[in-house]
């Protein structure tokens, strides 16, 4: 089914954004996030961007203090997901201008709007940055 979840976690292991595309109970999420974060944060630059965990493959990428972790099943192209993370970051960059952890924290809703435009039910919907950002601009105009 593709992408199972997208997490943004900072260096301290605090979750900054979590979007799941399959239902997990709160306890399951907590456990899963804890395990994944522990695994991924312990890795260094010389290691690859993929970590296998339970039935998931975690494709992750680090930007300054923030880790982007995407859980996929075995049916995804890992490098494509890796670059999808970068596309997400570039999109945020275009909106926030040099995006940082705080932007995502304090604009959680906008981060969610963007994700919502990019991924649906674990599949990529849109990869054009301007298309992704259209609804947000609409919203900004409205408020």
């Amino acid at each position: 089914m593709g992408i199972r979840f997208i997490l943004m976690v900072n260096k301290q292991g605090q979750t900054r954004l979590a979007q799941y595309f399959e239902y997990l109970t709160l306890e399951e999420r907590r456990a899963l996030e804890g395990e994944i974060v522990r695994k991924c944060l312990a890795r260094n630059d010389q290691q690859c961007s993929f970590v296998e965990h339970r039935n998931y493959k975690i494709v992750y990428r680090r930007y300054a203090s923030l880790f982007f972790l995407v859980g996929v099943d075995n049916e995804e192209n890992e490098l494509a997901i890796l670059e999808f993370i970068h596309l997400l970051v570039e999109t945020m960059d275009r909106h926030f201008g040099n995006v940082c952890e705080l932007d995502i924290m304090f604009h959680l809703e906008k981060a969610h709007f963007m994700l919502e435009e990019m991924v649906m039910n674990g599949c990529i919907v849109e990869t054009s940055k301007s298309n992704i950002l259209t609804p947000i601009q609409l919203l900004d105009k409205a408020s």
């Binding site: 239902y23 494509a80 940082c100 959680l108 809703e109 709007f113 990529i124 849109e126 609804p135 408020s143």
Partner: protein, 1092 residues
């Protein structure tokens, strides 16, 4: 930092951020939750009771209810509503339970304005799941948005349904969504969402969402120009095609066209170009979709696709920019996967053709074509081989992963083997992700030719491997060792080493397995090995005990094996019972209670095997037993008490503590487990599907697992530790005593939930197979190449008129049969290509034989057929025999036997196979009268009344037998005993006479006592008088004849030239046979048996 539009939210987030610890955070969150709860509660007191009841809410009331709620929330400004709902989401994200306020979030969906509506939709899809009751309240509101005119509202609604829509949504919205997707008036913005929304509804409820006739619409959709719509439509197509590729043929050329458009960068807007690469994601998805189509028939489409792929393969360079590099390699890896899939099947029909029509003139060109293809595949593998050696870790990882995938779908093992050294290096990579891939690949590429290297490499790596991997590593090594063991002693070596090196990580399953293996392989010789396994294992175990520091598991295995089999070594230096005992006993102070229990059993067994009894040893062991009689551990205490008591019983001990019976075979729990884990992936990948298709063609791939080099024991996870305090042979009673729970201490849980290791190991069937396992059906390059010429050669050598008679058996078939009449396992038949072993267990009137069909060659045996021709008194059922036996593999075929009534007729196995030429043999099966005997000792008081009560014919028959093979009385007694006719010495006052007794079991007679008296003449050993008595006239007669045959026929039969004709069927019609049973005349099996 731009300030959020919602100040209260920002303040709350700041507060959380400033919390010095988790405790403070929790306090802050609780405070906030309390605050929100109060606000919500105050505003809608009147609604709450309705909802709390959780009663089913009828649809027509939903609207009212929502309305009510909105009215209720009226008191909160839109700003406040938004703020609180976002706070809830934030708190939920932090990992706190938010068990209220869902209704408020849902209610925002029907808000009239975009900002509220949007928040309502997004938060609802984050907080709720498809089974949530509140969600149903929103169906109407959602539907109104979907069919409404406002595009942005449509998008929001479609996204919600696409993310969490359940059955109710599918039922009420599927048609609307389908309409939107194909509507020409809809803008791409809406349609791309409609595509993925439909995907969810279809995937979750395929029964509700009707996609019949969607192929045309799908094809139409793929004509779309907009790349956003194409991206999501492609995901939809993948789901549809994976379900049913036949219906979507028309989409295939369209996919190729899309791929061409992207590859050539035609009409791709800048917005969709990522670092100069036209939407890598759409390219990848399109190639995924293409992987599901088994073949491409249209030559133009095929050519176009190959051009595109070739362009990708050749045109991808390593560039400096990381993102560009990743994106282009994402496409490249997908192209490789597609290529291997499309190669893997495209030429299969051609191959079958080559194989079956050897003389056909098309062959040369096909072969050349095939060569070209093969070359292309080796190019792909070469590229991957380059990847696994680069510096960039991502590429190394993917190189290894894709090699494993390739292995599943195509026959590239030989080419991949060239990279074995590099792969082994990757096993030592600093990155565990890469090490795991390397391990997986090594596991997948292992076959008989490299098993030794790979397993030894794994063993070596075991001592340095990280803890996270050791268990998996140990299990994989164990499975490989078992599957591809060139001989059983190597297997024992490897496993003992494994346990020694990675004791803590060796699950109990593994050592139980060794025990099973050794126990069940008493004298069945594996194809290449002639050494008996049990003494070998005992010697090895003994050697390990000499080492200064060994893992406790090694102590367990060694103690068990030495307890059972050390008496087989008694004559070797350092292996006297006393020495064995003391070396084992040295370990006792350092081991845990479960091991002590095993040691006690070992002592009891050593004591029992010590003949003549050694008083000193006995006292030593008794002292230990009495020491543990007061042990706090119940199991140990019980064993100590029981063994102590038993060991005083003298002779009876040897029966009670006799060798452990064979382990029963069961269907592998692993396979089942593996299947289960596979099944939960809702959508199967193209590769998996392909692998399955291949296995369905080649039945063998599935069938061979239990067989492949694993004689009798079939599963790891359900292996039962032989509970040694079990004092009876009878497995049924064993079960009972275990059920009582008193005797079984080392029983493992029935199936360990060792989640990833066992699961993974056996998941992909295709990986399992030996080289070219996928090829066995005669559909693959290897077979086409290797098999056909061989067959030709063989035919050329064979004399024309004797097509079925070129294979000479090894050893004397009759002798083998006679040997098997006396024992329960051994070789029934052997020739240069195959070895048929047999192993039997008998219990009252039933028997279970297992035929072991071992292919001795490096090429498969095909057209294997085994037919049982049972005589009328036996009910026999042979399990399915695979048509093909893979190279160097052994297949087990259980055969169930039920004895209906006494008869001497013999069952025949009509066995044939093809290896170049057809070979057919008919073999007598050792399911004969005496197998249904249970020896019984009768005393004089029991014997004489019985003997007298069976007064004369037909229950008691007497006959003078002449021409008896000359043998001494002792020899004769041994002969009788070996047939399970128990000689009872001392009953007959005349020392020249023998009295024997046994119990015969059949369905009609039940247990029936049989008594035999033989009177010999010391002056003339060639004649004797025999009296046989039993409660059943047929039995008496049959038994008398049986004994007569044994006394007379043994020498002649074993000297006779092999009576089994390899000349196919006997040419002349079978003669009526001199059997007593009239039924035999109409019984083909019996007639054949007679002929043999």
């Amino acid at each position: 930092m731009a300030l959020s539009g919602m100040r209260g939210l920002s303040v709350f987030i700041s507060d959380i951020r400033n919390c010095p610890n988790k405790e403070q955070e929790r306090l802050r969150v609780d405070k906030e939750l309390g605050n929100i709860r109060t606000r919500f509660k105050n505003e809608k007191v009147h609604v709450v009771p309705t909802l709390r009841r959780n009663a089913p809410i009828k649809d027509d009331k939903d609207e009212d209810l929502l309305h009510l709620l909105i009215v209720g929330l009226e008191g909160l400004t839109p700003y406040e509503k938004k703020k609180y709902v976002w706070k809830m989401l934030y708190i939920y994200m932090l990992g706190y339970d938010v068990d209220f306020g869902h209704m408020e979030a849902v209610s925002l969906i029907s808000a009239p304005k975009y900002p509220e509506k949007q928040v309502g939709y997004i938060v609802t899809s984050c907080l709720l799941n498809e089974n949530h009751d509140f969600l149903r309240l929103a169906i109407n509101a959602v539907r109104n948005d979907i069919i409404g005119r406002n595009e942005t509202f449509q998008c929001l609604a479609l996204t919600l349904v696409g993310n969490i829509g359940g059955r109710d949504f599918a039922e009420s919205l599927a048609l609307d969504v389908q309409k939107l997707l194909i509507s020409s008036s809809c803008r791409p913005l809406v349609r791309k969402k409609a595509a993925l929304c439909l995907l969810r509804l279809f995937r979750k409820n395929p029964d509700v969402v009707n996609v019949d006739g969607w192929s045309d619409r799908m094809a139409q959709l793929l004509d779309e120009r907009d790349l956003g719509v194409l991206t999501s439509s492609m995901s939809l197509l993948v789901a549809l095609v994976s379900n049913d590729h036949d219906s979507y043929w028309s989409c295939l050329p369209k996919c190729v066209k899309i791929l061409e458009r992207l590859a050539r960068n035609q009409d791709v807007p800048q917005e969709y170009t990522y670092y100069g690469i036209p939407s890598p994601w759409l390219q990848v998805k399109t190639m995924r979709a293409l992987q599901y189509f088994p073949t491409i028939e249209d030559p133009n489409t095929r050519r176009s696709l190959f051009e595109v792929l070739q362009r990708i393969l050749m045109g991808t360079d390593v560039v400096k920019n990381v993102n560009k590099n990743n994106a282009s390699h994402a496409v490249l890896f997908e192209a490789l996967a597609l290529k291997s899939v499309s190669h893997g099947n495209q030429y299969v029909p051609g191959l079958a053709f080559i194989f079956f029509d050897r003389g056909n003139q098309y062959v040369p060109s096909l072969v050349m074509h095939l060569d070209a293809e093969k070359e292309m595949m080796s190019q792909c593998v070469a590229l991957l081989g380059k990847f696994i050696a680069v510096r960039e870790p991502n590429i190394r990882y993917l190189g290894l992963e894709n090699m494993s995938r390739m292995l599943m779908v195509t026959d590239v093992l030989d080419i991949i083997k060239r990279h074995q050294a590099q792969i082994i290096t990757s096993l030592k990579d600093p990155d565990i992700s890469i090490r795991r891939r390397a391990l997986d690949l090594l596991y997948g590429m292992c076959d008989v030719s490299n098993a030794k290297d790979i397993v030894e490499e794994l063993l070596q790596y075991l001592s340095t491997a990280d803890f996270a991997m050791r268990e998996e590593l140990a299990l994989k090594a164990a499975i490989l060792a078992e599957k591809f063991a060139p001989d059983l002693s190597w297997y024992v070596d490897v496993i003992l080493q494994l346990i020694d090196k990675a004791g803590d990580f060796v699950s109990d399953d593994i050592w139980f397995r060794v025990v099973q293996f050794v126990t069940n392989n008493e004298d069945l010789q594996f194809v290449t090995n002639n050494e008996d396994l049990q003494p070998y294992a005992a010697v090895k175990a003994r050697e390990y005990l000499d080492k200064p520091a060994i893992h406790e598991t090694v102590v367990k295995v060694s103690a068990y094996i030495l307890g059972e089999y050390s008496h087989l070594l008694a004559r070797r230096p350092g292996c006297s019972p006393k020495e064995i005992f003391s070396i084992i006993h040295e370990k006792l102070p350092t081991v845990s209670t479960s091991t002590i229990a095993i040691l006690l059993s070992t002592y009891a067994k050593i004591l029992m095997h010590t003949q003549p009894p050694d008083l000193e040893l006995q006292n030593q062991i008794w002292a230990i037993f009495s020491k543990y009689e007061g042990c706090i551990d119940v199991e140990i205490q019980q064993r100590a008490v029981e063994y102590f008591a038993l060991s005083r019983k003298g002779a009876a001990l040897s029966d009670i503590l006799a060798e452990m019976p064979k382990f029963p075979e069961r269907q592998s729990a692993l396979i089942k487990k593996a299947e289960d884990t596979e099944a939960d992936a809702a959508e199967q990948s193209a590769i998996k599907l392909r692998a399955q298709q291949q296995t369905s063609n080649a039945l063998v791939v599935t069938d061979q697992r239990p067989a492949n080099g694993t004689p009798p024991v079939t599963q790891l996870s359900l292996v039962k530790m032989p509970s040694m305090s079990n004092v009876d042979h009878n497995p049924a009673e064993q079960g009972v005593s275990q059920a009582n729970g008193t005797l079984s201490v080392v029983d493992p849980q029935p199936s360990r939930p060792s989640d990833d290791n066992i699961g993974d190991l056996l998941v992909p069937l295709a990986i399992e197979g030996p080289p070219g396992s996928a090829t066995l059906s005669g559909h693959s390059p290897v077979f086409g190449f290797g098999g056909a010429p061989n067959a030709e050669d063989a035919l050329a050598i064979a004399p024309v008129e004797e097509q079925t008679n070129t294979v000479q058996p090894i050893g004397n078939i009759a002798e083998r049969f006679h040997a098997l009449c006396l024992k329960d396992s051994g070789v029934l038949y052997e020739d240069p290509y195959i070895q048929i072993g047999i192993k039997a267990e008998w219990r009252v009137h039933q028997g279970r034989l297992v035929l072991f069909l071992g292919n001795k060659n490096t090429a498969p045996l095909v057209s294997v057929q085994a037919l049982i021709l049972p005589p009328s008194h036996l009910k026999m059922e042979l399990s399915l025999v695979p048509e093909t036996i893979p190279p160097r593999a052994q297949v087990q075929c259980p055969l169930e036997v039920v004895n209906l009534r006494p008869s001497r007729d013999v069952a025949v196995l009509d066995f044939s196979y093809k290896f170049g030429t057809n070979v057919n043999v008919k073999l007598r099966l050792p399911a004969i009268l005496n197998k249904f005997f249970q020896p019984i000792t009768v005393s004089a008081e029991e014997f004489f009344p019985q003997w007298r009560s069976l007064s004369g014919p037909p229950l008691k028959l007497q006959e003078v037998v002449r021409g008896v093979r000359s043998m001494s009385l002792v020899e004769m007694a041994n002969l009788f005993n070996s047939f399970r006719l128990m000689v009872c010495p001392g009953l007959d006052p005349n020392t020249n006479n023998l009295i024997a007794s046994t119990t015969f079991y059949s369905e009609s007679t039940r247990a029936m006592l049989c008594l035999v008296r033989i009177e010999t003449d010391p002056a003339d050993r060639t004649q004797l008088r025999m009296t046989v008595a039993s409660g059943d006239p047929t039995l008496t007669f049959e038994l008398k004849e049986f004994i007569k045959e044994q006394l007379i026929s043994i020498p002649t039969a074993s000297r006779a030239p092999s009576p089994v004709s390899l000349q196919a069927q006997p040419a002349e019609p079978p003669q009526p046979l001199p059997t007593s049973s009239p039924a035999a005349l109409s019984d083909p099996g019996a007639m054949l048996a007679g002929l043999l």
